[in-house]
Symmetry: C2
Subunit: 197 residues, 2 copies
């Protein structure tokens, strides 16, 4: 199985992390992001959206880190990480949407601005980040895991950009429930960190 990858991308890390949890070997294909390789014809053929990660598993080609988590958990995860029961699956799904939207446009965007100099609205990114983190912190005051009372792909989808939020000047010290959850998450067998973290 091939992962078109960038080591400092939180979305790529998300896939490497989950593959490590379920002990699936990945062949890493580094993409020269700074040179715009993801916008060139070969990769656009695999993902017209011009983004990474991209997963290739035989004939299957998938874009979008949340979709890749669903695929891996469904096919190789044995039901633990992506429950089949409708209400539990939907519980996880709520957090996959948070990863696609609030996390991306909150701590994810703040990091893009600070670390990569991307020109997007900093005030808005920081506001969204702290609004989102406060809601997550409140939720984690009541539950050990984001969804379904156990570790799922919800945690895997939300964790990466929170773990590197400081790189966007989003300081998470006051979110004590998030900090405890991160420690709990890091103790799961197979956990790996972002490079440099």
């Amino acid at each position: 199985m091939k992962l078109y990858d960038l080591d400092v991308s939180g979305n790529c890390y998300k896939v490497r992390l989950f593959a490590s949890f379920i002990d699936i070997p990945l062949t890493i294909v580094p993409v020269d992001f700074l040179q715009g390789e993801h916008k060139e014809e070969a990769l656009l053929q695999l993902n017209p959206w011009g983004e990474i990660p991209i997963l290739e598993d035989g004939d299957i080609v998938l874009r979008d880190s949340q979709a890749i988590l669903v695929y891996l958990a469904n096919k190789y995860g044995g039901g633990a990480w992506w429950p089949s029961e409708a209400h539990l699956q939907a519980d996880v799904m709520q957090w996959l949407s948070v990863a696609s939207n609030e996390i991306k446009h909150g701590p994810g965007a703040a990091r893009l601005i600070k670390k990569f100099g991307v020109d997007i609205d900093k005030t808005q990114a920081l506001e969204r980040a702290h609004k989102t983190l406060a809601l997550i912190d409140n939720h984690l005051g009541k539950y050990n895991w984001l969804a379904a009372n156990r570790p799922t792909i919800a945690d895997c989808a939300v964790y990466p950009y929170i773990s590197v939020a400081y790189e966007g000047n989003v300081i998470i010290d006051k979110y004590s429930n998030i900090k405890t959850w991160m420690e709990r998450f890091q103790e799961l067998p197979g956990y790996i960190s972002m490079p440099g973290n």
Copy 2:
């Protein structure tokens, strides 16, 4: 089954539309959005994120329109709209992420600015809208449906804010494949439109 609803919300329409496709009766609970009822204690108890739709099915309470679609399709849809095969489910999931992110921050945001006077970056919303619509149009030049070669909750999640894109001054005339797909979608048994459309 209760839906906390706002008639002009594309995300609420999404749930009403899919419930109509699979012929599930909903008890509609109108939320006084303009008066901020969704930010008051009673609704915050159901959804701390302060948003609608909210679905109540017995003891199950769900927020996020994509998660609600997954729940309804999984529990009541008989597998047609939300495939269980890993690669097809992931194919649908790619578009649920597009609904949560690109559609929300593209045509959805443009409509919020124009129709509801929300203070967000108009140029950015219009750019995102057309970039997203061009990618979807290109995809629909090759496929009749967004995912899995059949109507799924991917189409239900992406359609609503495209169908009312004109309310945000996002003109879709040049996206001929999208227009054909919309006509195809509107012919599905059980289709209902947004109020006023």
